[in-house]
């Protein structure tokens, strides 16, 4: 009781209660419903549903494109955040404001406009078609749509860390004779690595579940450009909720594993940056 009275910030019980209630209602109950729906089928049916050739192909497409887009977003997100924080140039504020455009634009609109751009007759598509490269209705196109969707996550995760970074370490390294590449690799990168991993994890999670923007540009060719969320939609349209939730459960488990691995790496690198083991 005494320790409760001595707390500097009051209201722990109430805020914890609200947080747990929100977590339960918004996150845990929908997730539990996935498990409950999937439990309607026996284990053999579950394995059969998630190992169907077409479903496995859709998992492969989803994971490959989400991973490729997230890697590209991580690199480009870092460059964008770096440029926005470190340099002054005309149009900087406009560029900064436009980063959130993918959040503002409905995903279906993004999908339609990207498809219009990248088909063989589109502004960008016709340039690539000359070299025999097709963007729309291929995995390449899906990756493009996912890059569009995921870029704000990385930029907005890295930007605040770069802004708050103490420049004295960089200056000290420079005084001690380190080159710019070495300063980036040994001083700056360890500081921003947790934020970069957060951005990667968020972008990957979002890309994995993205449906609206991808469904147009993918072309949905079975075994080639069908994504896992589309398979879930197909099952739902046939009122096969158990199969839909079985596929969703696999996606959920995979996303959870990736985010868990990211958190693990983050906490490890955070300990190293702080000087611990």
């Amino acid at each position: 009781m005494k320790s409760m009275r001595n707390k500097v910030i009051p209201g722990f019980g109430m805020t914890a209660g609200i947080t747990l209630t929100m977590l339960g209602v918004i996150v845990l109950i929908p997730m539990a419903s996935l498990v409950i729906y999937t439990a309607q089928m026996d284990f053999h049916d579950f394995i059969h549903t998630i190992t169907r050739e077409r479903v496995l192909a859709s998992f492969k497409v989803s994971f490959e494109t989400a991973f490729a887009a997230s890697v590209i977003n991580t690199v480009m997100g870092l460059i964008l955040a770096w440029v926005l924080v470190k340099y002054e140039f005309p149009g900087k504020k406009v560029m900064d404001g436009m980063i959130e455009l993918p959040f503002a634009l409905p995903t279906a609109v993004a999908g339609i406009s990207l498809t219009a751009l990248t088909t063989d007759q589109g502004w960008i598509g016709r340039i690539f078609t000359r070299w025999g490269i097709h963007i729309a209705y291929t995995k390449f196109g899906i990756t493009i749509a996912l890059i569009f969707i995921g870029i704000p996550f990385v930029v907005r995760a890295v930007q605040p860390v770069l802004e708050k970074m103490d420049s004295s370490c960089e200056e000290a390294a420079q005084v001690l004779g380190a080159g710019r590449a070495e300063i980036f690799r040994k001083v700056i990168f360890p500081e921003i690595r947790p934020a970069l991993l957060t951005g990667f994890g968020l972008a990957f999670g979002r890309c994995l579940g993205e449906y609206g923007s991808v469904v147009f540009i993918a072309g949905n060719k079975p075994y080639e450009t069908e994504i896992a969320p589309l398979m879930i939609m197909s099952e739902l349209q046939e009122y096969d909720y158990a199969s839909a939730t079985a596929i969703a459960l696999v996606m959920l488990a995979a996303s959870f594993l990736v985010l868990f691995a990211m958190n693990l790496i983050q906490s490890k690198s955070g300990r190293i940056v702080r000087g611990g083991r």
Partner: protein, 53 residues
């Protein structure tokens, strides 16, 4: 201007150009397509399309 400063300026310019190209291709161009398609048949066609319910 010494070699280090020239290199730094080149890197800065290179990174800014990359960002503008990336933003142009991935964010501005799709937006332009949306606007271009919406107003392709003129403002009246656009008005009719959004009020045609």
């Amino acid at each position: 201007m010494n070699k280090k400063e020239t290199d730094a300026n080149f890197t800065k310019l290179f990174l800014i150009v990359i960002c503008f190209v990336f933003m142009g291709l991935f964010l501005v161009l799709p937006l332009m397509v949306v606007l271009g398609t919406a107003f392709r048949d003129g403002i009246h066609a656009y008005k009719n399309a959004v009020t045609d319910y």
